[in-house]
Symmetry: C2
Subunit: 194 residues, 2 copies
């Protein structure tokens, strides 16, 4: 039993831990590949498999997704922390972020968007809905494929989170963190609790 601790109120804000660090990749109207970092995102549905990414209308990527009806997600690994942060600072309106970072945009064979060759885990998404929520538009992308580097798999061929090493983000305090040790298995460690 935990002793009594007072809770401090922080008010009405987007302050919650953790959020992902996912890189949204698109082509612009000239076919220039672009990449942007998003933390306002998550899986949204299992059937069809879909995820949601929320972007401000002011972003360059917002228009690109509406134009091309497609985007990819690259899971930012620790190794590319600086690049991931840069993708969230610069705008594709002003610069070519792939040239700036030296990362390689590969054209998806499934849809009209590029993905980052060097990133260990990427998802190809077809736009199926978009919802105006206020400052942000939420884009729902149907996941058509998930691709993972062969050298980032477990011995039995599954994506190994400890090799992929995705980052997480802490909003408000604005820090990136690594993932830590495995705590346990889902649908397992709580089974005999009752």
């Amino acid at each position: 039993m935990k002793e009594n601790v007072t809770k401090k109120s922080f008010g009405a804000k987007t302050l919650i831990y953790p959020t992902p660090v996912w890189i949204v990749c698109t082509y612009d109207h000239d076919g220039k590949p672009n990449a942007m970092t998003a933390a306002w995102c998550g899986v949204a549905c299992s059937r069809p498999p879909a995820l949601g990414v929320s972007l401000r209308k002011a972003t360059y990527t917002h228009k690109c997704i509406l134009d091309r009806r497609a985007f990819t997600i690259g899971v930012a690994s620790e190794e590319y922390a600086r690049e991931a942060d840069y993708f969230g600072i610069a705008s594709g309106r002003d610069t070519d972020k792939f040239k700036d970072t030296g990362l390689t945009p590969l054209k998806s064979a499934l849809l009209d968007a590029p993905y980052i060759k060097e990133f260990p885990m990427i998802l190809e998404c077809r736009l199926i809905h978009h919802f105006e929520l206020g400052l942000h538009t939420q884009f729902i992308g149907e996941i058509l494929d998930v691709k993972v580097d062969e050298d980032k798999l477990t011995a039995d061929g599954k994506p190994d989170i400890e090799k992929i090493r995705p980052m997480i983000y802490a909003p408000t305090v604005e820090t990136y963190h690594a993932i830590g040790r495995q705590i346990g298995r889902g649908y397992s460690i709580g089974k005999n609790l009752k």
Copy 2:
């Protein structure tokens, strides 16, 4: 420059790292508090501050949210890994999960939902939209307040992720992980990349 590595295709599935482990709390029609674990969720908008949580129609919590138009989110910390897993296994239809775990439901003063007293970080959300995406309904909740235990703050009074110790989840391989070391600051480590 990274050498060439082939990517393996996993097909159309909700396989992406990382997802959060957030506990959705509601009252049912009898006023019984209930808690359910969700990984298909994320922040959805900054103004109004809002988050999205996707639930299958078959879940008990789905109906409770529609009835009460409110829910809270508890950020599952490592300390409560077993309870968090249990909340995702059992159904409020069959059992009282608060009684089973010994955790304490406190009534929100802002809306018609309970929150978990022992959890270090909780958010109170008012339902503002729900979207039918397929197997899952996505509930968008406006965040009315964020509350954090006083003993989980940094010296300058902000929520300390290294004290809160939220878990993350790896879908498909179904493992929970701790957060690891801080990698760097947002809008900072990538600033001089170009």
